[in-house]
Amino acid sequence: MIVVDELTKKYGSTTAVERLSFTVAPGRVTGFLGPNGSGKSTTMRCMIGLDRSSSGSARFDGRAYRDLARPLTEVGALLDAGNAHSGRSARNHLRWIATSNGFSARRVDEVLEMVGLQQVAKKRVGQFSLGMKQRLGIAAVMLGDPQVVILDEPANGLDPEGIRWIREVLRNLANQGRSVLVSSHLLAEMAMIADDLVVIGRGRLVDQCTVTEFIDRHATKWVTVRSPQLDRLTDLVRNAGHRVESSGDAADIHGVEAAAVGELAAANGIVLHQLAPQTGSLEDAFLRVTADSVEYHGGTEAGR
């Protein structure tokens, strides 16, 4: 269990993380979301003592990271897959990490096999693709078989097969009862992987809940209708003050419950072929909830 309590990190007059509190439960994958520059990586670095927090704390089963005698046996963190000497072999990279916490060379070989890098163990890290470096980073995380796993953008640079692999890894880790905190910009992927979400914007907590709750709370909702008398129905809905987007024989009605649309149609003798409540994606919910927190917005010209 990770408990982050009122964590604050200031750089001079700039506050990167402000009184951030959240928990990461065992047996669950918790997605850590926020726009670029929202403080996700800073929070993760503060959690494991790489950056000094200005105030507040992060505790792992009740203990601060600096108080863990052999931290890698309790917390495995991958903050940047590029953090490996390009001139050192993958095996030697893992060996020095393993040695620092008293793990055997056999354990190094085990984790190399676990991530599928045993064939390239003697190859220098500088010759690795980003995907291979991500796998090497996961191997380092797993050296101590930790109960807490923290990963910053682990799917970065991975091909579809690699993304599926990381998804399975995260799911297996959670199924084994570990607390998994993972940040990612791949929101569709996060919707598939995560059980819970911690969403931050400008260093502050925006929401913490399950993925389903988050989408339910923040995503756009609308009702899709199909009807042979669509024009009449959409006129009635517009007159009732609701926004309608028509396309062919269907229309999306915003700001109203499906039941109300059904009742309106029935009261006016309109036949309905489809009446389907719709909910936006995690991406839609995320973009809505963090709209005010995004530092840099793309122009419409650039988006075309």
Partner: protein
């Protein structure tokens, strides 16, 4: 602590550029001695001068070992591994101490090997060329001991410089320019400003001067000079350690 030391040693010896630097620290003085012993015209040259040539090239090794100290630290920052190091061992004092111990021990071994090879090979070559003078002298072991100690202290200085700057070119420049340029300029300025100023108060140059066979001219003597230089390195190490403890990784 033992695990951290072993880890630091593994880190040092598993990077090719470090091995190249160790080889350079070994080969430069050995090559100088072998060439000197092979080609020097020793007629009319005093035995002490010949003896000094056999150990004098070890000074170049000392500076290269300082660079190894720099690299042991700055590689961690340039390659990003400092974050893994400090996550694996959150006690930063322990990390720094382990790094310094590994680098200093390596420096001592390299210096000892350099001395041994230079002495044995130098004497063998000279004798083979018909040199009949006396190459041993009073305090010879002390000169060799000073070289080993200075190698360790300069390697520690390299670690401190690396930690202070976190930047390989910056730290290496500082390490090399301090004795070669900075102390000459600072000493020259202070010599004008302060009556009775002695250039021996410049720590790095004094430490290196303590490696000569004859140290009669040194203000603090051989071990006093090395101790004085070590004091400066100790202060810089404490500042470096405090910065390492306070800075974000």
């Amino acid at each position: 602590m033992i695990a951290t030391i072993r880890s630091e040693w593994l880190k040092l010896r598993t990077v090719r550029s470090n091995l190249v630097m160790i080889a350079v620290a070994l080969l430069i003085p050995i090559a100088i001695v072998l060439l000197t012993a092979s080609f020097i015209d020793f007629t009319g040259v005093s035995d002490t001068t010949i003896a000094e040539l056999l150990v004098g090239s070890g000074t170049s090794s000392v500076m290269v070992l300082g660079v190894i100290g720099v690299l042991a630290v700055t590689q961690e920052y340039s390659q990003g591994t400092i974050r893994i190091t400090l996550a694996a061992t959150p006690n930063r004092l322990r990390v720094y101490a382990a790094k310094v111990m590994v680098v200093a021990l390596l420096a001592a071994i390299v210096a000892a090997v350099v001395i041994g090879i230079c002495r044995l090979a130098g004497v063998a070559i000279l004798e083979g060329r018909g040199f009949v003078g006396e190459l041993g002298y009073d305090g010879e072991a002390e000169v060799y001991g000073a070289l080993v100690v200075m190698a360790m202290v300069v390697a520690m200085l390299g670690c401190a410089a690396g930690t202070l700057t976190r930047n390989p070119p910056g730290a290496i420049s500082a390490l090399l320019l301090w004795p070669l340029v900075v102390e000459n300029i600072v000493g020259g300025v202070l010599g004008v400003l302060i009556d009775g100023w002695k250039q021996d108060w410049m720590p790095f140059q004094t430490g290196l001067s303590a490696l000569s066979v004859s140290v009669h001219d040194l203000e603090f003597g051989r071990w006093g000079s090395i101790g004085y230089f070590s004091l400066w390195v100790g202060v810089l190490s404490v500042v470096a350690l405090r910065l390492l403890g306070r800075r974000d990784a």
